[in-house]
Amino acid sequence: MKDQAAIRFQGARVVYPNGAVGLARVDLDIQPGEFVVVVGSSGAGKSTLLRSVNGLTPLTAGSITVGGQPVPKKEGAELRRLRAGVGMIFQDFRITRRLSVMTNVLVGRVAHVPGWRAMLNLWPAGDREIAFRALERVGIADKAWVRAGDLSGGQQQRVGIARALAQEPAIILADEPVASLDPVTTHQIMRDLVRINQELGITTVVNLHFLDLARRYGQRIIGLKDGELVYDGSADSVTQEDFKNIYGRDPDAGDMLDESAAS
């Protein structure tokens, strides 16, 4: 069970149809239960890295295995099974505004119930229980029946997190989950992610834009530049030199969330 949460990149390479290189070559091992933060400038390949794990962006060469199983290259039942075990959180939340919070979270259970039940919105009691517990874990159970679009940004992201949790996943991928949020909410969400990782042991990979956030919340930091791994180490040991390697320039205020932390 533990190994199901391991991710391994071997020679992973992604070239888009228009010729742009998403990932040049990545070899990376992520152990079950790790909390990994990925940093890099825009276009460095952070999103591509995450999206290749659940097959949203297919690899051009190389392989990725999740829990020992290779990620299927084509859409189909096998890929859906894999995705059921991998929860994804997006920068723009990606919840359906017109539906209730509860329905949005239940979407996380679609791969776990028979198709007809999912289509008719008739969820078994067990799945509804899981959904409620997911909402409680992020603290918005009282908003269960509110129209999702009526919530604040931070609350909507929590719905997204609850949806991922409802999948009871082995892995959570968070693609710039706080980029659209204000500083206070940003810290709340980051703390939620860390807590989930610690309490439930879910392997968590988070793309972050702000360096100070990365250093503050990450255990292990991966730096990407032009689709390649240029840094892989603990959060405490990132130096100015490493930063220059990752971003190709010196850090400035724009790279920090809290201006006081700018060195």
Binding site: F132, E136, G139, A144, W145, H187, Q188, V194, Y217
Partner: protein, 273 residues
């Protein structure tokens, strides 16, 4: 991870779970019942029958086969009526377009000189829009006699209805800074319109007029069915004598004509924006 402990932000997991709010069953069932009832009533009223449709399909096939190929030889007789159709469309669009200007202006909340005028004009516009163009054609045909003039009048009314509704909405959306400046400089209401308001909405006016012209070319093929001139009159005679190959020819010719006009109109409108 010790730095996480300085924020004492713990989620209250002990809060009671809210119950699902009761759906407004009255509204949902009521709406569903209304739709179902309406559909059942309508289907019965018109004699809707899939069985009958299926039975009639062979007959339909025969009709379509009979209608094809079109009677190409009949085409020369269409040229004059098609031309007349275009002429009706031009006249209807031009007169209607001119008349639509004051009617649209008076219906624009930000430009109208008075509430009563606006109210009357608004309702007048709505009434114009309620009657289909063919009704106007029938009325005018009865009033001034069969022929293209009746058609032109009917299209005039139709054009006024279309352009004034669309353009009054454009006028309501203009930037009021310039018209107010004209007023502030001592200009009259007309001067405000001429220099402040209308120039802003002019491109929309041209666009809507072209659109109305397109609609009018389509409509004028039909107006003749009730005697209002144009190709429709030929269509009616051929239809009532069941000359379907000729009917098909007419339909094709009109479609081609409409397509050509649409292309020209599109390219003009694209040049505007």
């Amino acid at each position: 991870m010790s730095h996480l402990r300085d924020e004492s932000e713990e989620h209250d997991t002990a809060a009671p779970r809210p119950l699902r709010p009761a759906r407004n069953w009255a509204l949902i069932l009521g709406a569903a019942a209304a739709v179902i009832l309406m559909t059942w009533w309508s289907a019965r009223g018109i004699g809707f029958s899939l069985v009958e449709l299926a039975c009639n399909l062979p007959g339909g096939r025969r009709l379509l086969v009979e209608s094809w190929p079109p009677d190409w030889g009949f085409f020369p007789r269409l040229l004059a009526p098609l031309l007349e159709t275009l002429q009706i469309a031009v006249i209807g669009t031009v007169i209607g377009g001119l008349l639509a200007i004051p009617i649209a202006v008076l219906a624009a909340r930000n430009l109208t000189p008075g509430v009563l005028v606006w109210f009357v004009d608004r309702n007048f516009m709505n009434v114009l829009r309620t009657l289909p163009d063919l009704f106007w054609a029938m009325l005018f045909a009865a009033a001034v006699g069969f022929g293209p003039i009746a058609g032109a009048l009917a299209l005039t009314v139709f054009t006024v209805a279309v352009i004034s509704k669309l353009w009054s909405e454009s006028l309501e959306a203009i930037d009021m800074a310039v018209p107010e400046a004209v007023r502030a400089a001592g200009g009259s209401w007309l001067a405000m319109l001429q220099f402040g308001a209308i120039p802003q909405a002019l491109p929309h006016y041209v666009s809507y007029t072209l659109y109305a012209f397109e609609l009018n070319v389509r409509a004028s093929m039909i107006l003749g069915l009730v005697g209002a001139g144009g190709i429709g009159m030929v269509l009616e005679t051929q239809r009532s004598t069941f000359e379907y190959p000729r009917v098909t020819l007419i339909v094709l010719s009109v479609l081609v004509l409409v397509l050509i006009i649409e292309q020209i109109s599109e390219s003009i409108r694209r040049r505007l924006t």
